[in-house]
């Protein structure tokens, strides 16, 4: 029989009393929390005892000993803390004791203070996320890529979640209404989105070609073949300096042209959305250019 298990259940911060309720019911089934974390919980089987749990949020604990002592003296065993300031405690359950034995915040003022601590952090983090999203917006505008779009989406969603979470707690505070909203699955989707966008971002740095050519003119067009492996936005830069007008274009093998320009001095920087496949960058001169000379630098990244 298994003696350990890990559940991947996540709870939104404004929903932590549901986490407590779930931990209590696990304990009644014989699963005792051994480590509480933000995205999962570890349990050990022990049918001989039933605990009641408490979760505290506090990031301002200059003196750990004082903190734990205050809980220990009322029978709370310290389990662990998460990196972001949640602390797990448990107390042996005795049905004869009144319910308030299992409450760590016994007046509404101190309970609200705890929530305020979270609201403060969430507001700060949410604002930082919003700021990052704003910075990312520039990136998306000037150098778009799927990864940047995904990152923008993830940052915006996190900013919204944190700021909305702070509002939800604030509202719940005012109404004193029970909080029944679940945010766990939503948070999970957010994290997946974030992970995917970061993974994408690491792929995207693929530069498909960088070609430099210093040449005399020729009768035939000069053709460079480019292989694009991932669908994404690519940046096509062309620098040309020639003695007579050059015609430069980028297109695919089916004859579709994505961009073209011409001139004796070309300095272009365009963003193109390309699907995987082979592309060609073509350079040629007008029929009169028997002896054109120039420098050509093309970069697709």
């Amino acid at each position: 029989m298994k003696n350990h298990k890990t559940t991947r259940r996540m709870y939104a911060a404004w929903n932590f009393d549901r986490e407590i309720a779930d931990l209590n019911s696990e304990s009644e089934k014989g699963w005792q929390l051994s480590e509480g974390r933000s995205f999962s919980s570890k349990f050990i089987r022990d049918n001989s005892i039933v605990y009641r749990y408490a979760i505290d949020y506090n990031t301002d604990i200059p003196d750990q000993i004082r903190y734990r002592e205050m809980f220990a003296e009322q029978g709370w065993q310290y389990i662990n803390s998460t990196f972001n300031g949640w602390h797990y405690f448990r107390k042996v359950y005795d049905p004869a004791l009144p319910q308030d034995e299992y409450t760590i915040y016994t007046d509404s003022a101190s309970y609200k203070e705890m929530q305020k601590r979270w609201i403060r952090i969430a507001s700060i983090l949410g604002s930082i996320m919003a700021l990052l999203a704003a910075l990312n917006l520039f990136h998306v505008i000037y150098a778009p890529s799927i990864a940047q779009f995904a990152l923008l989406g993830a940052l915006l969603a996190m900013a919204v979640t944190l700021l909305a979470g702070a509002q939800i707690i604030k509202k719940a505070n005012q109404n004193g209404a029970p909080r029944k909203r679940s945010g766990g699955s939503f948070l999970f989707i957010l994290l997946v989105l974030f992970a995917v966008s970061v993974t994408f971002a690491s792929f995207k740095q693929y530069v498909s070609t960088h070609t430099q050519y210093e040449a005399q003119q020729l009768g035939l067009p000069w053709v460079i073949e480019v292989d694009v492996k991932l669908p994404d936005f690519y940046r096509f830069e062309a620098e040309v300096s020639a003695t007579s007008p050059a015609y430069v274009s980028i297109g695919d093998y089916y004859g579709k042209t994505y961009y073209e320009f011409s001139g004796t001095e070309i300095d272009e920087d365009v963003s193109l959305f390309l699907m995987p496949g082979k592309y060609v960058i073509t350079t040629h001169f007008g029929s009169s250019a028997e002896d054109a000379v120039g420098t050509f630098v093309y970069t697709l990244s």
Binding site: E73, W76, T106
Partner: protein, 109 residues
């Protein structure tokens, strides 16, 4: 430091009250508060930690060395002069409030 006056919560009043005669540790405070309030005010650990931390910051209480010789060395807290004044001021405010209520309603306890 803000001088804005804020009424103390019941838990705060009881904590100050419990420390008025002698220093005590968290558990002692909790027990005494329960006793003084005839079982009505139970101060949970989270509330206690928050209150004591605040009071230490505000200088209403200070940590005093635990009694030596005991088998447990728990931290004890004692009331400072500022803490004493805060408690007595709160008492005066409440008396005032009671007098005002009595004066207007004619109902006295």
């Amino acid at each position: 430091m803000s001088d804005k006056y804020e009424p103390l919560t019941e838990s705060y009043v009881y904590i100050l009250l419990c420390l008025y005669r002698q220093p005590s540790h968290g558990y002692g405070i909790m027990q005494k508060a329960l006793e003084l309030s005839a079982g009505n005010v139970k101060i949970g650990s989270g509330t206690m930690y928050g209150a004591i931390s605040n009071m230490l910051k505000k200088g209403w209480v200070s940590e005093c060395p635990a009694e030596t010789g005991g088998f447990e060395r728990k931290r004890q807290y004692e009331l400072t002069d500022l803490g004493r004044k805060t408690l007595l001021d709160e008492g005066a405010r409440l008396r005032h409030l009671c007098a005002a209520i009595e004066g207007q309603t004619g109902v006295a306890e």
